[in-house]
């Protein structure tokens, strides 16, 4: 067997590299690199969300762009009202728009969580390829709804003139905004690691591996999966909220099926079900896009080839190649 790096050590290296590179870049004035690292952190966060459903729960959701986009639109819509001083609602009481990140994050997570509850409750009655198609269908419905709703920009999307604020920080400073994203990513990873080893994680993994057995011992697969799907959607929704503030723009493209595909690509390239898989996958995606995208507009061909090789020859993704097979309790 090839020599492998212990997975916790590899994870630590990835986490530290992800923060060290932008800090170094910021010190040497390479602002663009900081922005790239922020995208990696945000994409990784979206992937951490999907990984909970896809990796731990075996739920191949092809509709996570719905949660990413809803998180983004929550931020965009609240910012839109804050910018125009038009309250979001006047009855039963006045709800003003806001750009305070803690509030917009909470709204984004609530919106994507509720959407995940509804979509999950219907989709989880199916499995396999039907589940993939139904999640895709729901995401497409939301996508077309966003396109056809002129109040919030329709096809053109919504601009956020000033990035949201966070108490005590200057979010306009690229490094500080990166650090916000990085800390949230780390928190999501810690949460994932805990959930996975908890009773809930045990049940979720059992339901993924052998539904009949889980039922025979008295575990109801549907409820376990639904809760996992909701947590998954909320984390991806938070990533969407950060993405909106990074781009200072939201548009239906955040809800497009290609976005669902990209989030899935992060997870698969990095390693399905591996804790830091989405981090590795998002980093590779962004680096490919930046390096090869500068050389040819067909850079996605290379990404596709990499994905193909990983699916065929390295099921554990990049983490699996470096750290070997997963260890279990």
């Amino acid at each position: 067997m090839a020599r492998v790096i212990p997975e916790p050590a590899l994870n630590a290296v990835l986490a530290l590299a992800l923060v060290a590179i932008p800090v170094w870049a910021s010190l040497s004035g390479e602002v663009f690199t900081v922005t790239l690292a922020t995208r990696v952190a945000i994409y990784a966060l979206a992937g951490v969300g999907l990984n909970l459903a896809l990796g731990f729960g075996g739920l191949v959701s092809f509709g996570h762009a719905a949660f990413f986009g809803l998180g983004g639109y929550a931020v965009g819509i609240l910012a839109h009202h804050a910018q125009t001083y038009a309250p979001l609602a006047e009855w039963p009481f006045t709800i003003p728009g806001t750009q305070a990140m803690p509030v917009t994050w909470a709204v984004a997570m609530a919106a994507s969580g509720i959407a995940a509850l509804g979509i999950g409750a219907l989709s989880l009655r199916t499995s396999g390829v039907y589940f993939i198609m139904i999640t895709l269908a729901f995401a497409q419905m939301i996508y077309y709804f966003a396109i056809s709703w002129p109040a919030y920009g329709g096809e053109d999307g919504l601009s956020i003139y000033v990035r949201g604020s966070f108490p005590g920080l200057n979010t306009l400073d690229p490094l500080q905004f990166f650090l916000i994203a990085w800390v949230l990513l780390m928190l999501a990873l810690i949460l994932s690691a805990l959930v996975r080893r908890s009773r809930f994680g045990l049940a979720l993994s059992a339901v993924r591996q052998n539904e009949t057995r889980a039922e025979a011992v008295g575990i109801r697969p549907f409820r376990i999966r639904l809760v996992a799907f909701v947590i998954s959607g909320m984390i991806t929704g938070l990533a969407g909220a950060l993405f909106a503030d990074l781009a200072r723009f939201v548009s239906p493209s955040m809800l497009a099926w290609s976005m669902s595909g990209e989030i899935m690509v992060f997870v698969i390239i990095g390693g399905v079900g591996r804790l830091f898989g989405p981090v590795a996958g998002a980093a590779i995606f962004v680096v490919f896009e930046h390096v090869f995208g500068g050389l040819t507009e067909h850079w996605q061909f290379l990404l596709g080839l990499t994905l193909l090789l990983i699916v065929l020859f390295a099921r554990g993704g990049v983490i699996g190649l470096l750290a070997g097979r997963e260890r279990h309790d």
Partner: protein, 250 residues
Amino acid sequence: MTEPVLAVERLARSFGALKATDDVSLDLRAGEIHALIGPNGAGKSTLIKLVSGALAPDAGRVRFLGRDVSGLDVVERSRMGLGRTFQVSSLIPEFSALANVLLAIQARSGSSFRFFRPAMSERDRVERARGFLAEVGLSERAGVMTAELSHGERRLLEVAVALALEPKALLLDEPMAGMGPEGSRQLTRFLDGLRVRAPILLVEHDMDAVFALADRVSVLVYGRVIATGTVEEIRRDPEVREAYLGEHGP
């Protein structure tokens, strides 16, 4: 007479023209092992599925602990204390033996909706899980991944998982299947002592085990129970000898 723990009343289930279960009635009383035998294709597995709730009957009822459970599904019946093992080992392959038992304990006594504390750090539960593994003689294999256990060990683990549910009745679907003679003898001894904890409805092909263990035997042929009685009565029954035992010798 007290009410049986488990009672099947005039159960029927067809698949197309095939009557897999045809007007079957039988019961399981406290403290007994009731063996269900019959040639391949007699409908034993279908009957187990009907009793466990995996399959809905066309007609008839299942009563468990004095309650009509016909409308309950697998999960609800399991939570009431109906434990089962599968004919083909059905465990969680990427879990250790210990985690498989722990999962059953978790499902039986408490919620699966705990998100932060590692399941393996809940000492009292883990100790109980080790206790069930020790009962079936798998203590030393607790940390081994289930997919890497031998066939016989997996059969034993099935039993340990069923016990961890603290069952009020057990459905054992060919627990000896594929076990070597030594393994079969060991498991036979173990099941012998188990009946006082929970009565057992035992589907088994191993006639040595059935005749050694069963208080009563029911013979299923083409979906119908053709005879129910003690081991001696069944051995003597001419219809049974013709339909079934004749092929094997008594």
